[in-house]
Symmetry: C2
Subunit: 242 residues, 2 copies
């Protein structure tokens, strides 16, 4: 059975302007790989309603899961929930279950559930809430779109609750070998190895450390025995097991 | 005159699998903002020929500049140059100017310009070389597509040479105010301010530090005086200049 596929949509002007360095994509990529739902593409787009609507439609149609981060807070530039609702043709309004969560959270802190905060209870009809153990305001899953916060600690907490509810495929297994030679020195043998073993994916990632060129060679497959076998050949070829 | 726009395409399975954390998007976003060529979208896609061709065509058609990172080394999984050439309908082969650069580089180090390394001299017809002061193998500009290396030190060095050759618009100016209140407490006033000042873009970015919720408010415009004026109102509203 083929693994389900995923895409990620990072929503936020602050990422595109370089004001903020996104952290959620890297976190999600690792988590999805471990869970057996490979991330096939990721996009970063601005806080623009029409762009969000069109991109959500496109990605949700082409993947089993779409994960979004950003734009679900209480301020005027938080427009993700409305846009996702429109993309999937759902109505959206303040929902009692979300309101109750926020009410309890702010009551406990002696803070007012004001109009701005109440915006965070706007949840599309038919959506399932995603728990936010950090700051209460929930994310949601609508169809195959999982809408989560942009603040990394909240994104990670939401994902930790969400991921076990999603059926993953066989996780992609990988092993790597660090070779203290530049890619140009190993490319011919490596290319032949890759051609001889279409059952695994072999990637080569160059690095420069202390002025010395090296290569990390990564062998990936859902079949652990296939990875083991190719790693043995790889070690025999380049001889620096790590 | 409107600013030119840019998109970025990060090419590499290793980013999507979470093996490597991309650093080039953040670097490019900052550099482009300073240069007055706003980044409007960014994508991460796998090392897949058809996907690269289709995505390059799409992004290059919709933006003044497309910057790519990754996939121009000597190994079998380095397929970006061929895909970009195909996307733009250019022929590609080993070019004498690129070969001469590599030959000089490897001669000086007593290394062989072998077949694998020679792949890095494959440059599309009509492309302009982008200098690589780190490891010699050049990037290239074909049409409005700037093809650069994935290794961050090389990407940054290539960009440093390339960017001054591109005509930027007025740079986007920004100032920010850190407010030690959660977004829910400031959202109403902030929303009114944003509505009153459509001449600037106002973003709000929540953070949690030592358990306390705060907000960074960022005011952006190409017009520095407009930013100044709104910042004064912002300080009067929330009173914690930073």
């Amino acid at each position: 059975m083929p693994s389900p596929t995923a895409a990620m949509l990072v929503i936020g002007d602050e990422i595109l302007s370089g004001r903020t360095r996104d952290a959620n994509m890297y976190h999600l990529a690792r988590a999805l790989t471990d869970h057996g739902i490979p991330m096939c593409e990721a996009r970063v787009i601005p806080d623009d309603h029409a762009t969000i609507v069109a991109t959500v439609r496109d990605l949700a149609a082409r993947h089993d899961h779409l994960f979004t981060s950003g734009g679900i807070g209480p301020t005027h530039d938080d427009i993700t929930a409305e846009a996702v609702a429109e993309a999937l043709g759902a109505a959206i309004g303040i929902r009692d279950d979300a309101r109750a969560i926020l009410q309890a959270h702010y009551d406990a802190r002696g803070q007012e559930l004001n109009e701005a905060r109440l915006r965070m209870a706007r949840i599309p009809d038919g959506a399932t809430l995603i728990d936010n153990p950090i700051s209460a305001a929930p994310g949601f899953t609508l169809g195959n779109v999982h809408v989560m916060a942009g603040v990394p600690s909240i994104f990670e907490a939401m994902l930790a609750g969400l991921l076990p509810t999603l059926t993953g495929g066989a996780p992609m297994l990988s092993q790597s070998l660090m070779v203290r030679q530049g890619e140009g020195d190993i490319a011919a043998k490596l290319g032949k190895l890759a051609k001889d073993h279409p059952e695994v994916s072999i990637g080569s990632y160059p690095f420069i450390r202390d002025g010395v060129h090296g290569s990390n060679i990564v062998v990936r497959s859902q079949d652990g025995q296939a990875v083991d076998a190719v790693m043995q050949e790889l070690s025999a070829l380049f001889g620096e097991a790590r």
